[in-house]
Symmetry: C2
Subunit: 334 residues, 2 copies
């Protein structure tokens, strides 16, 4: 900047003004400064700008797994509204690792991001408290309010679990399994609880197949367990905690000669684009992931606007309702 000022023969304060208050500076000098900027290829140092100004325009987005299309789509939609509002997004991928999530959040803190949108791993990350304490606007996504001191947007996972198992019960299944894990994930816990309730009310057994992670490999692992069971006791319908598990399960079962849905019916969760394209098109519980992302970003923008205006902000909790999409993988039994 000093170089720019020297080349344009003005003070650095004037250079700053052509950037931040262009109308305060004479067109002729403005032009001179702009020419100098272009000539030197100068790019302002955001660190210095923010340090001085006190706040920047960067929003941190953290999700537990970018590799899961559900989150990728969610990020995409959130990012779109952030950009439209003139903010930058910086994405953190926790890789299903709570420790990594902590690192990411810590980094956001050190970077003094303006706000954070978090799809948290644990039940209730302590870090959220630190964020709000540091006056960083935070909205939790894919998680509903639990007396948290911030805005939240989520889907009713309990209802989603019920929906899935209700459907299996209605299509005649009495031995049902839930495949998912780890149970430390609130999503998994809620979906399981919903399942249990539906199974109870439908007078069906519910076997829990615990898997370490919500990915395709975990689904294959679940398939191995099912294949080992005697056909008379083996569940005839499986509800998977997400579509990745469902896809892995489907692959594993087919590879080992079992038929879907005839031997085992499957219902997944998230309704990612790949669910419809699976070997046997997957029934799935659809979450409005695009709305989730957009809403989260809008809530954040609203909170920042309130902060700007010095108005007190009332935290909101938006909860969407999931719905069942039936496809071939759980077509009524013949």
């Amino acid at each position: 900047m000093r170089d720019v000022a020297a080349l344009a023969q003005v003070s650095i304060g004037t250079v700053s003004n052509v950037l931040n208050n262009p109308d305060r500076v004479l067109p002729s000098t403005r032009e001179r400064v702009e020419k100098a900027i272009a000539q030197l290829g100068w790019v302002p140092n955001q660190q210095a700008q923010q340090l001085r100004a006190g706040r920047g325009r960067t929003i941190g987005l953290a999700v537990m797994d970018v590799t899961n299309p559900f989150f990728a789509d969610l990020l995409r939609s959130a990012q779109d509204v952030l950009f439209d509002n003139g903010f930058h997004a910086t994405i953190g991928d926790a890789d299903n690792n709570p420790q990594r999530q902590e690192t990411i959040l810590r980094t956001f803190l050190e970077q003094r991001v303006r706000g954070v949108i978090l799809g948290p791993i644990g039940a209730q990350p302590d870090e959220v408290g630190e964020l709000t304490k540091a006056r960083i606007a935070t909205v939790l996504v894919d998680r509903v309010a639990e007396s948290v001191q911030c805005c939240t947007v989520g889907v009713d996972d309990h209802a989603g679990g019920r929906l899935a198992v209700d459907h299996l019960v209605e299509t005649g299944h009495r031995r049902i399994a839930f495949a998912g894990g780890p149970i430390s994930l609130k999503q998994v816990q809620d979906r399981l609880d919903g399942s249990k309730q539906a199974a109870l009310e439908g007078d069906a057994e519910l076997l829990v197949i615990a898997v370490p992670e919500l990915d395709i490999a975990a689904g294959r692992q679940a398939a191995d367990e099912l294949v080992l069971m005697a056909p008379e006791t083996r569940p005839t319908g499986v509800f998977c905690a997400n579509d990745l598990v469902a896809i892995g399960l489907l692959q594993g079962l087919m590879a080992q000669g079992l038929s879907v849905p005839d031997d085992v019916a499957i219902v997944g969760y998230d309704n990612i684009d790949f669910a419809a394209a699976a070997a046997v098109p997957l029934s799935s519980i659809a979450q409005p992931r695009t709305d989730l992302g957009r809403t989260a970003a809008n809530l954040l923008m609203a909170e920042l606007a309130d902060a700007e205006a010095g108005v007190a902000h009332a935290h909101q909790s938006v909860r969407f309702t999931p719905n069942l999409v039936v496809r071939e993988s759980s077509a009524p039994r013949r």
Copy 2:
């Protein structure tokens, strides 16, 4: 920091030292400072640190589409090695939009990131020049060297295209189509060129079905085009520029009553996890995406290490070889 110093009754210089040169400060005072930090919940301001120190430990990762599992996996693997080396990753998603990519790169520049790993959209982003000029180490991924002034790591897309079409020719196809776009993407261009060459050598026709983007919707669009054609002239084998297009094509064809591979055989590209799980398991050209990501990150680390040591850095171009994975979607015709 001032508050911490006051509470611990030391100067701010000493607080800084317990962070950066813990051994220079008496254990007893160090402890006092640490207690004060914990008590106040103080988090250092990275902006100030970097501004003063001159450089930080953040690496910018930019890809054209986080929503594509190929890139999500690539990011994941690159990120792993960055973390292991004590760097933070900040991800930018260009959303297939060159303008957005420019914004991302500009932001990286303003943020004075230490290095950038870029999976570029255009042929040769000018911004790369700006990055290197600003002494930001840059490595291009999913793109081989074109006399670029930086390290690159990529896969031979031309060979990949050949591989795919050779396979179709060998399994008896003479009317072949290439489905992909936009042609402005180097990847698409190279894969098409390879296809053309293989078609020529195999004495087969090659029809180009141009699509606007490499996603599932584009694949469905290609299906619509194919379905409209008379069976006698319709291509019997289609090579898709990536697996998303292939999956969309598969869906579209099946929905409209055509059989894969009997009516139309399909070969995709990338071999994402979902390819094997598709309605008809997809043949695909496999790229070692995990190696791509890891190698890119390692090249960057090496370049930074050289810079640190004041040694001149010799840019490297690593090129991997793709290979064909045959599955049902292109099983030899009966």
